[in-house]
């Protein structure tokens, strides 16, 4: 028998995930969309910190936040935690 078992140096070390999940959009999961009133917003950035999906970005150069609806799952945490109630959750159709 000339059967050759691969030694440990020859087998694949482990499964490797090669792509960043940034390429996997989760924005279409949402039913409600957070909409911010820039007048009420104090730029406290708490929503940026609490969002489970990193879907709110802080831009220091613009001194402003920006929602990335490609990832936002519409959970409502940002609206619930905003100290000035600047965020309202709207049904997708209403927000367009």
């Amino acid at each position: 028998m000339t059967h050759h078992n691969k030694n440990w140096k020859e087998i694949a070390p482990a499964g490797v995930c090669s792509k960043s999940s940034i390429g996997f959009l989760t924005g279409d999961w949402k039913t409600y969309t957070p909409v911010r009133d820039p007048e009420k917003c104090t730029r406290c950035v708490l929503c940026v910190i609490f969002c489970p999906d990193g879907a709110i970005k802080w831009h220091p150069e613009k001194n402003d936040i920006e929602f990335d609806y490609n990832f936002c799952k519409g959970c409502g945490i940002c609206a619930n935690q905003c100290p000035t109630n600047a965020i309202t959750m709207r049904l997708e159709q209403e927000s367009k």
């Binding site: 090669s18 960043s20 940034i22 940026v48 910190i49 969002c51 999906d53 409502g76």
Partner: protein
């Protein structure tokens, strides 16, 4: 070596790029997802992460995608701490041989409550006893969520899960939550802390302390799961606040065995009238819905009694005298 205390503002944190990336597949409003983002933003870098199977491992590594911007190794349900031991030992030997170009590399092991209280405790206890220099993070969503909400040693008394269903036979889980952080303190390890993500600054400061300390560190983080708790996804941070305010989940740290309350809980010890009744925390969570039925009145009283008893025990450990409201 003494390290300077890490000072940061909300904007510093907001500006830091995420190392736990968007595009992960956790449910909307997932508490652990917020916790992971925060923890990774508190690292010094370079960092190596290893993680037991469970929700956060699954949602962050669905082939071919990864939500990790740092080297990350998935490991079995029970072996998060043994994996971290191996990584740390490898780093040590590489340093000795001059093959490591970094002054220090942070090693973090993540596991859920199932992967810590239950199946992971032997590996964790061993790694701590051997003194490996790593941070173990328990993200506690209080049940085995990934496999369908089974009860664990971390599930609280009275909570309904699929293996402790509330009905005619039992009113939810009969047993009490295992005091896991106390068990870790009993290991005489350099750093043990509890934290809740609503108090993000406290949580992130503790992550940094746990990484800076030489030797093992253990961080127990409260992590609401709207799917398993049958709670409103918008309220995950609200529950993480109420749990601290009701003393269901007090925040404290133990440095070389010296135990002290952290500010959010310290404020309640100073002004006991601020301590909220447990029902304010329990209500709205589907897993506790049955507790409010008339026939379960005794259970609600018991949850309050146990919460008070544990809080008073903690106060004594922290050298505070229990005051009544």
């Amino acid at each position: 070596m003494t390290t300077q205390e890490w000072k940061f503002t909300a904007k510093d944190i907001a500006e830091k790029p995420d190392l736990f990336l968007a595009g992960h597949r956790a449910c909307a409003g997932c508490g652990p997802a917020t916790v992971f983002r925060m923890i990774m933003k508190a690292t010094r870098g370079p960092t190596i992460v290893t993680e037991a199977t469970g929700c956060m491992e699954v949602v962050s590594s669905i082939y071919p995608y990864t939500s990790w911007a740092v080297p990350w190794l998935h490991t079995a349900f029970e072996t998060s701490a043994s994996n971290a031991s191996g990584i740390e030992a490898a780093l040590k030997i590489m340093k000795k041989k001059g093959r490591l170009n970094h002054e220090h590399v942070d090693v973090i092991a993540f596991a859920g409550d199932g992967g810590t209280y239950d199946i992971g405790i032997q590996a964790l206890s061993g790694a701590v006893e051997r003194g490996h220099d790593f941070l173990f993070v328990l993200y506690d969503n209080e049940a085995y969520m990934n496999t369908g909400i089974q009860r664990s040693g971390g599930t609280p008394h009275g909570a309904a899960t699929t293996t402790s269903p509330a009905g005619k036979s039992i009113p939810g889980k009969l047993e009490y939550k295992k005091p896991i952080a106390d068990i870790m303190v009993a290991h005489n390890m350099p750093y043990v802390a509890t934290a809740s993500p609503y108090y993000w600054k406290d949580l992130m400061t503790k992550v940094r302390k746990g990484l800076e300390v030489e030797g093992p560190a253990f961080l127990h983080v409260f992590a609401p799961c709207p799917r398993g708790w049958r709670s409103d996804p918008a309220k995950s941070m609200e529950y993480s606040k109420l749990a601290v305010e009701s003393c269901v989940f007090p925040v404290w740290e133990s440095v070389n065995g010296h135990c002290q309350l952290s500010i959010p809980s310290k404020l309640i010890s100073l002004a006991p009238q601020k301590k909220r009744p447990v029902d304010e925390y329990l209500k709205g969570q589907g897993r506790f819905r049955h507790i409010f039925k008339p026939q379960n009145k005794k259970l609600l009283v018991d949850v309050q009694r146990m919460t008070d008893a544990r809080w008073e025990c903690l106060l004594r450990k922290c050298g505070e005298t229990p005051k009544t409201a």
